[in-house]
């Protein structure tokens, strides 16, 4: 189903932070997919509207997990839904993370804020097949300790290297303080044989990509998940253009060598 939402039932919800909720959706019949890590769905809140949301966990049976931050009418509507409510879903859409190109490489997963959500299924996929990859580094940045997503799962991502840093420590926080790029000095990777997956605010992604390229990663092996306004997800509405790219179709994952000249043009 790509043009008409397929009804799903919200089976469980978990409040991650003050403004962010993770919920699981189960198709009422059939199901969509399969969704690859980094791909997204259009989620329809009844009578309010539709927004693109990356999958943050998939299962083989059509169930989808999404993490939504309440920042607008639709996302707030979705975050407020109780278990049992219906959600319309279209998808899967877009290019996901190119994990196949990273086989045998050291991996750098760098997330900022809600940007961890589209990276979680990638981490799941790597952990399901650890022998296929080199060292996994998970670097997570958040605003405050209270804004951290998936807190219960973070410890499992600590080996061989995983770290969390916050902009503003609070409440007895004993972890790292500072930007996520500061953690790169400690990550375990051979730049000539590494692939990076980066998702977060655009400024954070550009800073991270620059640092990685400075450290010797080829720009084409730094993958960013970009965001623009998306209305249709099917390449027809024109809203998500970034120069030559229709991000709904040619993204959201774009390698930095392709993204860099576009992101540096103001208001492209």
């Amino acid at each position: 189903m790509t043009l008409v939402p397929l009804p799903h039932r919200l089976t469980s919800r978990h409040r991650e932070t003050a403004d962010t909720v993770t919920f699981e959706l189960e198709p009422l019949s059939g199901g969509l997919g399969p969704f690859a890590p980094g791909q997204y769905a259009m989620l329809y809140a009844f009578g309010i509207g539709e927004i693109p949301v990356s999958v943050c966990r998939t299962s083989g049976d059509g169930r989808l997990t999404h993490t939504v931050r309440a920042v607008g009418a639709v996302s707030r509507g979705l975050c407020d839904l109780p278990a049992g409510a219906s959600v319309g879903v279209r998808g899967p859409f877009g290019n996901g993370w190119n994990l196949r190109a990273a086989r045998g490489h050291d991996l750098l997963v760098v997330a900022g804020g809600i940007g961890l959500a589209p990276l979680r299924p990638l981490i799941d996929a790597v952990l399901a097949e650890p022998a296929a990859y080199g060292r996994l580094n998970v670097l997570v940045g958040a605003r405050t300790p209270g804004d951290l997503l998936y807190r219960a799962e973070l410890p499992a991502w600590r080996r061989p290297f995983g770290a969390v840093t916050v902009d503003r420590p609070a409440g007895g926080w004993t972890g790292r303080v500072g930007v996520v790029t500061a953690l790169l000095d400690e990550a375990l990777f051979a730049p000539e044989n590494a692939t990076a997956f980066v998702c977060g605010p655009e400024v954070m992604m550009r800073a991270t990509a620059r640092e990685l390229v400075d450290r010797g990663l080829p720009a084409g092996r730094v993958q960013l998940s970009l965001e623009r306004n998306m209305r249709c997800a099917t390449g027809h509405c024109g809203h998500c253009q970034l120069g030559p790219l229709l991000l709904c179709r040619d993204g959201p994952v774009v390698p930095y060598d392709q993204a860099e000249p576009l992101l540096t043009v103001r208001e492209l």
Partner: protein, 157 residues
């Protein structure tokens, strides 16, 4: 019985040429601090600096009524302290170990003297320290943007 900490391949030490690295490390004193050790205090004389080999150091500032507020942490390979480089050689923050910290400690006056006597070593070293300061400044500016926080302006979908 402590294992020898590795020489970091990143950060300031990793960026020095092998010859300059050897020269700098010749000036180093190995130190090993337990967690919660105060390394220096705001306003104190900046007569030393450190390069972290393992562990984490927190930079903090004392706020009346709130105690020390951590503004940044520095991990493996990181340079702790740069106030030693420029007059008046006074710390503008405090520093405390967050875990056990193994580090190379340097005597600031000694390093400054070697730099002055051997500019072919001093210039690259000072340039690397400036790079470190620059990177921290950029990071601080990024944090000023509060990128992960709620965005002011128009409502979004």
């Amino acid at each position: 019985m402590s294992r020898p900490a590795p020489v970091p391949s990143t950060g300031l030490i990793g960026s020095l040429s092998p010859g300059h690295r050897e020269r700098l490390l010749a000036l180093a004193h190995e130190v090993d601090h337990p967690a919660s050790t105060r390394l220096f205090e705001e306003g104190g004389r900046a007569d030393r600096f450190w390069i972290v080999r393992t562990g984490t150091v927190a930079l903090d500032i004392h706020l009346p009524g709130r105690g020390p507020a951590v503004v940044e942490t520095i991990g493996t390979g990181g340079l702790v302290g740069w106030s030693w480089l420029c007059p008046p050689h006074e710390w503008h923050l405090g520093a405390e170990t967050r875990s056990r910290v193994e580090a190379w400690q340097f005597d600031a006056a000694e390093v400054r003297a070697v730099c002055a006597a051997h500019p072919e070593f001093g210039l690259p070293l000072v340039t690397l320290v400036a790079e470190t300061i620059g990177r921290r400044l950029r990071a601080t500016r990024t944090r000023l943007l509060d990128l992960y926080g709620p965005q002011p302006g128009a409502p979004s979908p």
